[in-house]
Symmetry: C2
Subunit: 217 residues, 2 copies
Amino acid sequence: MPADADAPSTRPRPKRRDAALNNDRLIEAAREVFARRGLSATLEDIAAHAGVGVGTIYRNFASKRQIIETLYDAAIDSALADVQTALEIDDPWLAIVTFFEVTAANQARDRGLGECLLGDDAVGPNEHTAWRLVATLTPLFERATKAGVLREGVTTTDVWPIFAMLNSVYGLSDAAPDLWRRYLALLLDGLRATDRPPLPEPALDVDSFTATFSAVD
Amino acid sequence: MPADADAPSTRPRPKRRDAALNNDRLIEAAREVFARRGLSATLEDIAAHAGVGVGTIYRNFASKRQIIETLYDAAIDSALADVQTALEIDDPWLAIVTFFEVTAANQARDRGLGECLLGDDAVGPNEHTAWRLVATLTPLFERATKAGVLREGVTTTDVWPIFAMLNSVYGLSDAAPDLWRRYLALLLDGLRATDRPPLPEPALDVDSFTATFSAVD
DNA sequence: GTCGTACCGGAATCATCAATTCCGATTACC
DNA sequence: GGTAATCGGAATTGATGATTCCGGTACGAC
């Protein structure tokens, strides 16, 4: 529609090759550093990892927050996709197990991802997104409940406290990077339907849930 | 025994009454604030809660660290005592359950306590104390293992990752202060002996354990 | 009551840490 | 070779929180 799509005065000049390279390096470095050390990693860390100066970061991103948004914008969609993948598994219980194992593995591999999903006041899902997450998970859990393989009273809002718990064991020991699988197994055994008594406390209702796990924006 | 118990030159003057009162108030306020907000609570918080100025804190304690030590020195001994209490319960499995419920309840009530037990680089058990904790827990777990009520491969070093996980749910929602009981129940079901497959990862060995959960001093 | 001093409040200081800005030096591209 | 885009990284800014300091305040001896 613009009459002067390539008017000489507004045509953006192509980037210098080294600048473009640095941009790529920075994104990759940010991804690695946030994955290893979480979102509290410093820009200096990231710059050093990319082999550039901090100033270069600001020629590519307006702020630290924007880097995080650039990297993790797709994170929530990707988590939603994990739910869809799990739903394609026929066995309702195996689907639950797979969902937790896949998402936990992702969060173990990328500490920043977990911090984005759990919310941190600064980053994290907003209220609307939190709702969407719950809504997407509901079929997975309802199917398992109907099939009688999920412990009575277990609901979608249990997912976040479980994520939070696992989050605290991901980096515990460098000597045992997969230790989290041990404790996920414990939790999954508790989630499975058994003849044991019901759980002692009700799950969070959806309002408390969104209040707890939403960033303030 | 001292020959000069009240020699005039060295007799400490009695404190002014208001000063003594402030000291009591401060200890109480520190206890409450650390319990509610954890050890990262500020001295200003504590002073305000006690109704005094920050300066007054420094007339009673040399540093924030010293306050923490004063309040939580007995914490580890008290945790050890909880193990003894649990050992007095006849049923080996009930003893395990009781141990976790009592210690978790204490940590839910007092966030500072949990932070002391888990270690934080700055505060927490030193290496020797970590050993002592493991040693004390061993009879409790060995007895349960011998009785066949504890899942195969569960060991004393599992206690700290579990504490760490629970620690992340204690304060989740003000609307549900006892929510942690729900997730402790899940974990305990996983710890109990069943005919299910063994846990996927070995527990931390004692060396990794002490490395992970000791303050650097 | 009043005086001396132990004690007080809380503003000011110090320290740390990390995001962001700035500018002289460098380098890709013509 | 010229020059403007780009760079590195030191300096700046801002926030936060422990610790210090000092002009008052008020306890309690007289």
